[in-house]
């Protein structure tokens, strides 16, 4: 495990240097957060039917999204790995005595965690003291909070496993744009990043629940605001782990296949 831990640490320390990017990111995230909440506020004040989530739950959903964007956004990428594949520096990665899947996985994980640490803490500090209805409420009890943290972590691991497919696809396509766009748009929509999944029409919800994407954010965020019950949360955690296993296994097989046919670009 040592090499994976080392790459994680190096990336983490390195990623923490990007302070101005974090500040700029935070400003954007506040803007989006307020905008979304205002839209939902207008919606809630005019709706007659019974909405699937309370405004308080939606506010929590949105602020958590904004605070942990680096942990849930599929477009968040490592251009170094793309360059490695398309320009041929992959040659060096391939003659290391460690498993490439694990190595890249650790690198991507570290990158997301370091970006999230810089952004999430200041955002959370602010949104906890905002006036109603913009304030982020604290979870009902400590157990809910713990469940949230656990599922959020497993969700992050699932997300990195999904994003690995983008990198693997570059071996075939030689350009990250296509897979990044496709997986980014589809994945983020079905994760609930555009509209929370409970607000989708039933048939669309059915699709979202059948795909792995919602387990990365929709699920933990709704645990946080108690929209999902504790029992359902435990069951969901099991399903999360199954998805993680499936995605990592598929990713490993795909990478192995790609490496057997690898061509080192550029002589």
């Amino acid at each position: 495990m040592k090499p994976y831990y080392s790459v994680l640490r190096l990336r983490l320390v390195h990623g923490m240097q990007y302070r101005s990017a974090a500040f700029a990111g935070m400003a954007t995230q506040f803007f989006w957060g307020f905008m979304y909440i205002m839209i939902f506020e207008a919606f809630f004040s005019h709706t007659n039917s019974n909405p699937p989530m309370t405004l308080e739950q939606v506010v929590a959903y949105i602020w958590l999204q904004q605070a942990f964007l680096a942990l849930i956004a599929l477009w968040f990428r490592d251009n170094e790995i793309f360059d490695l594949i398309t320009k041929g520096n992959i040659a060096y990665e391939l003659c290391r005595p460690c498993d490439l899947y694990g190595f890249w996985y650790a690198k991507l994980l570290a990158q997301r965690i370091s970006a999230a640490l810089l952004r999430s803490i200041p955002i959370l500090l602010v949104v906890f003291i905002l006036p109603e209805p913009y304030r982020l409420t604290i979870p009902e009890n400590i157990e809910t909070l713990l469940l949230f943290v656990m599922t959020m972590f497993v969700g992050l691991f699932i997300l990195v496993a999904i994003s690995m497919f983008i990198y693997i696809s570059v071996f075939l396509t030689m350009s990250p744009t296509g897979s990044l766009l496709m997986l980014g748009v589809v994945g983020e929509f079905f994760a609930g990043l555009i509209i929370p999944i409970p607000f989708m029409p039933d048939w669309l919800q059915a699709i979202a629940y059948a795909l792995p994407f919602r387990w990365t954010m929709d699920f933990p965020f709704r645990i946080y605001s108690s929209n999902i019950s504790e029992t359902d949360a435990w069951v969901g955690l099991g399903i999360q782990l199954v998805w993680l296993f499936v995605l990592v296994s598929l990713g490993r097989i795909a990478l192995k296949g790609a490496l057997n046919k690898v061509v080192v670009q550029g002589g």
Partner: protein, 327 residues
């Protein structure tokens, strides 16, 4: 025998398209591919401790061979056994024993100080703290890295970076070293530094080195044996001395003499490369002519001031080889 390569073959599929819009549109539906035979039937074996120069013109298949031998590419045919391993089969166990430098690529992390990359490599190769310290001290000393090791890689010059790249490949004390154009793009001083380092290091650690280069002075300074390939085929495998004996029989004879207008009689077998009133440069094939007789003949006609005999540069010998094999 530490490296045994037998009947290695590898081909690549290359997409072809002529220029122009119509051709580009056609390529949307139908793509032409050509098969490029990068290696065909390459066989050789290398003894422990040998320094082998692996040479050939651009596109000959040198880098492809190195990549196969370091386990990166899977060949179409043939076997390769290095220290008992088949490189592309037990990659993880095998690569611990080799160090690879790709002169045109970089393994150091671009944005972080060199030392951070070294420490990461130490963990990747699971080198013990003690071995790492000892090795690092030696590498810093031999490659003169003391002042640059805490600088981010993006701020290093090419020569400095290459020295760090070489050090990075040696952190784990490999038994076999594959150097793919380690001196590419370096100035004369850096080249000599790198060369000297490889020489000293190979001697001290008794490592086996396979080196590809286009710089024949690298070969002259380092290699005891050369393997020449072209168009994916092996053409010559032997010592540098034998190569000189069989192809380098020509000597360049430069003779300075007192200014004289005498029409020199150089009837003996030699070719005049240039001639002025004070100097004549001749190419003599020692197989057919005798150098001392030529000097004797000239000294009887003019008063000699200085005579120098040089062996033909290895560069020219290689060019001759390329020509002979039409590669």
């Amino acid at each position: 025998m530490v490296i045994r390569v037998n009947g290695l073959a590898k081909s690549f599929k290359v997409a072809k398209r002529s220029s122009g819009l119509t051709e580009a549109l056609k390529a949307l539906f139908y793509r032409k591919h050509t098969i490029v035979q990068a290696l065909q039937d390459i066989s050789f074996s290398i003894e422990p401790g040998e320094i082998v120069g692996y040479i050939g013109p651009n596109g000959a298949g040198k880098s492809t061979t190195i990549k196969v031998m370091s386990g990166i590419l899977v060949p179409d045919q043939g076997t390769c056994e290095i220290m008992g391993f088949t490189p592309w089969k037990n990659r993880a166990n095998y690569v611990k024993n080799i160090g690879v430098v790709f002169g045109q690529r970089s393994q150091l992390w671009w944005d972080v100080p060199v030392i951070d990359s070294f420490e990461l490599l130490k963990d990747i190769y699971k080198v013990s703290y003690h071995d790492y310290q000892e090795n690092l001290t030696m590498l810093i000393d031999l490659l003169n890295l003391k002042d640059i090791i805490h600088t981010p890689v993006r701020q290093l010059s090419l020569g400095q970076r290459m020295r760090c790249e070489i050090a990075a490949s040696l952190i784990h004390n490999p038994k076999i070293l594959f150097l793919d154009e380690p001196t590419i793009g370096l100035d004369a001083v850096s080249k000599i530094a790198v060369r000297k380092f490889i020489q000293d290091y190979a001697k001290e650690k008794k490592v086996t080195v396979v080196l590809t280069t286009h710089d024949m002075s690298d070969i002259e300074a380092l290699a005891t044996r050369i393997i020449l390939i072209g168009k994916g085929q092996l053409f010559y495998d032997g010592s540098v001395t034998t190569l000189r004996e069989s192809y380098g029989s020509q000597k360049i004879l430069t003779i300075d003499y007192q200014k004289s207008n005498v029409e020199l009689d150089t009837s003996l077998q030699s070719l005049i490369l240039s001639k002025t009133e004070e100097r004549i440069i001749l190419r003599v094939d020692t197989k057919t002519a005798n150098v001392s007789k030529i000097i004797g003949q000239l000294s009887s006609q003019v008063e000699l001031i200085d005579v120098s005999i040089e062996a033909e540069p290895i560069e020219d010998i290689i060019i001759k080889l390329y020509k002979e094999y039409q590669i």
